[in-house]
């Protein structure tokens, strides 16, 4: 057993180098202003107060959260029936359907977004609707696959037992299938909400150039304004929001397990 523990050391080094160290750098940048020496740092919360005292930034944050939330909701609304449909197909067809679902994932997301840009260019829609369509399209497979996995591994005998006890199809779905597939929905939410809230390529390409989300803001401050300190502060705020939402979804997961 001990030798197995040792095998994880390279992985720990990897984590330290590529996850902990960059996070630490972001933290350091976020808590300072430029013009520091290499040895002396002057810590400040100025970057954060600048973000939270400006209504423009707060509105961008709110828009990001709102569109990510709506994307997640729509992914569930479309994804759940789709997953249910696939799970009820014969085994062979299921494999084919999941293959078809993952097929678009083999194509680079940037290319798919450009394709959508070409399609949506001909329609006179609000930028937000365009971005929303792009996001739902892009993240939907993750949701379907997660829910499908949860439904597929469900014990069929439970459904037979439910019918046996006099429940009709609808009631069986509500009382048996749905509650047992909640873990799938939860992991689907994590896989959709998190990338959606920090997405910046989709709003940039589909928003017609006047739709700014928090990811775009971070990009601007890093690449155009050259203000890494403020950019890091925004990234850190984002990271905190993501951690918080992960914590909340996990808590939801646990409470459903207990029930």
């Amino acid at each position: 057993m001990k030798s197995f523990v040792r095998m994880s050391y390279p992985y720990l080094v990897w984590i330290a180098l590529f996850i902990v160290a960059p996070m630490f750098m972001i933290l350091l940048y976020a808590l300072t202003r430029s013009g520091n020496g290499t040895i002396t740092f002057k810590f400040t919360l100025e970057n954060f107060s600048r973000f939270f005292s400006d209504p423009t930034f707060l509105r961008v944050l709110w828009t990001s959260l709102r569109i990510a939330f709506l994307t997640t909701v729509f992914c569930i609304l479309i994804g759940y029936p789709a997953a249910l449909f696939i799970a009820n197909l014969p085994e062979k067809r299921q494999t084919l359907m999941t293959l078809l679902l993952t097929l678009p994932m083999w194509i680079n997301m940037l290319l798919k977004t450009y394709a959508w840009r070409g399609i949506l260019m001909n329609f006179d829609l609000e930028s937000e609707i365009k971005v929303f369509i792009g996001m739902v399209y892009d993240f939907l497979p993750y949701m379907i696959l997660q829910i499908h996995t949860a439904i597929a591994k469900l014990d069929r005998n439970l459904l037979v037992a439910s019918y046996d006890l006099g429940a009709n199809k609808w009631k069986t779905f509500l009382k048996v299938t749905l509650p047992l597939s909640v873990p799938g929905i939860i992991s689907g939410i994590t896989l959709v909400f998190l990338p959606a809230v920090s997405s910046f390529v989709i709003p940039k390409l589909l928003g017609g150039g006047n739709y700014v989300l928090i990811g775009n803001l971070i990009e601007t401050y890093f690449l155009v304004a050259g203000d890494w300190n403020f950019g890091s502060a925004i990234s850190l705020i984002m990271a905190l929001i993501i951690i918080l939402s992960m914590y909340l979804t996990r808590k939801m997961d646990r409470s459903t397990e207990e029930a």
């Binding site: 400006d54 423009t56 930034f57 509105r59 961008v60 260019m121 017609g208 150039g209 006047n210 700014v212 803001l217 601007t220 401050y221 690449l223 155009v224 304004a225 050259g226 203000d227 403020f230």
Partner: protein, 357 residues
């Protein structure tokens, strides 16, 4: 036999051309690589291929989208042999000691530079570090079937405050240029560091965002306007040249309030790994053939005077194209000077807020 004669003829013509780069043996650079970092949509790639063939070298060609991005990359220590920054960035790079002087025994064709450029190279008047590549003004491309010419010429930059064009405009996503049009519209200098003036310009841009609801774009504006997707767009004159040649409904307005007149020039960073070949490249790009091919391909005004004249003259590629030759000698036009370092982040910050509103 005929073929051999033709080859001989080509050889005879080519030999004096090579020899004119004095004190330089092409064999020295054979087999080496040149790292070129240029603006996007700014070259005829066949010119690069020809250069590779002629000197038996490899060119690693990459592109960037803005001076600000280039500056950040240079600061993080990236190394290229050739970069093509705009005037004000060259000024900053010279001041920071980040460029190396050109080898004038190799770059010996500076007499080919266009006359109109003379007064503009204030950042490097003697071409110690830089050789112009393209030059341009900033102006408005507009659809004459939607906006009559007199209407546009009378408004100039004020067109960006006109609610009648709401939803029909492209705005170039570049903080320096955005502030330039606001400052020019308000009658200030494009290089102002006056706090009140910069805040007034900020308000002007916020109002533009609210009234005009423009789409913020970069290079995609070129194809979109060529297709006539919107009524007007803020563009560089070089891009306008291309748009006008693709779509005859389009016209170019150099606003009467004055605009920015800019030079993008080839320079060799101090940390370049192959400066010898870089000097040779600069010389090659300024020559008539390469300049002509590049200018025809992308539509920007050539730094080579003879090319500029030939392309805009009778029978030339851009005869009658009002955007090709930049307006020279107009009193209100300004070149950018490098803003003090505490201002360099100021405009992008305010500009990000305008767009996010």
């Amino acid at each position: 036999m005929k073929k051999i004669l033709a080859y001989l003829l080509v050889l005879c013509l080519a030999l004096p051309m090579m020899a004119s780069a004095q004190g330089f043996d092409p064999a020295e650079v054979a087999g080496t690589t040149l790292n070129v970092y240029n603006w996007g949509e700014y070259v005829d790639m066949s010119v690069i291929r020809d250069f590779e063939k002629e000197y038996n070298v490899r060119v690693n060609y990459k592109t960037y989208e803005s001076n600000e991005y280039l500056w950040l990359q240079l600061q993080s220590g990236d190394s290229w042999d050739i970069i093509v920054p705009s005037d004000y960035l060259i000024e900053r790079l010279i001041g920071a000691g980040m460029l190396q002087p050109l080898d004038k025994t190799i770059v010996d064709n500076l007499d080919q530079l266009a006359e109109g450029l003379q007064g503009l190279m204030t950042y490097d008047p003697d071409n110690t570090y830089s050789v112009p590549y393209f030059w341009q003004t900033m102006g408005i491309v507009y659809d004459t079937t939607k906006i009559p010419e007199e209407e546009m010429e009378a408004q100039g930059w004020d067109a960006f405050q006109n609610p009648a064009y709401a939803g029909h405009a492209y705005m170039y996503d570049s903080s320096r240029d955005a502030f330039m049009i606001a400052e020019k519209a308000l009658g200030y200098s494009a290089n102002t560091t006056n706090e009140e003036e910069i805040l007034a310009a900020y308000e002007w841009l916020r109002n533009m965002h609210k009234v005009l609801r423009p789409s913020y774009v970069t290079d995609e504006v070129i194809d979109s306007m060529a297709e006539g997707l919107k009524w007007m767009a803020l563009v560089y004159s070089g891009d306008a040249t291309y748009i006008l040649s693709e779509n005859e409904d389009m016209a170019y307005c150099t606003p009467h309030q004055g605009t920015n007149i800019a030079v993008d020039a080839m320079v060799i960073p101090a940390n370049a790994k192959n400066p010898k070949l870089a000097n040779l490249f600069i010389r090659y790009m300024l020559e008539y053939e390469a300049s002509e091919a590049n200018s025809i391909e992308v539509g920007y005004a050539s730094a080579n005077g003879a090319v500029l004249e030939a392309l805009s003259g009778p029978g030339g590629e851009y005869e009658g194209n009002s955007a090709y030759v930049p307006r020279a000698g107009y009193a209100q036009d300004e070149t950018y000077v490098d803003l003090p370092s505490d201002w360099q982040a100021r405009q992008p910050d305010l500009w990000a807020k305008v767009m996010a509103e």
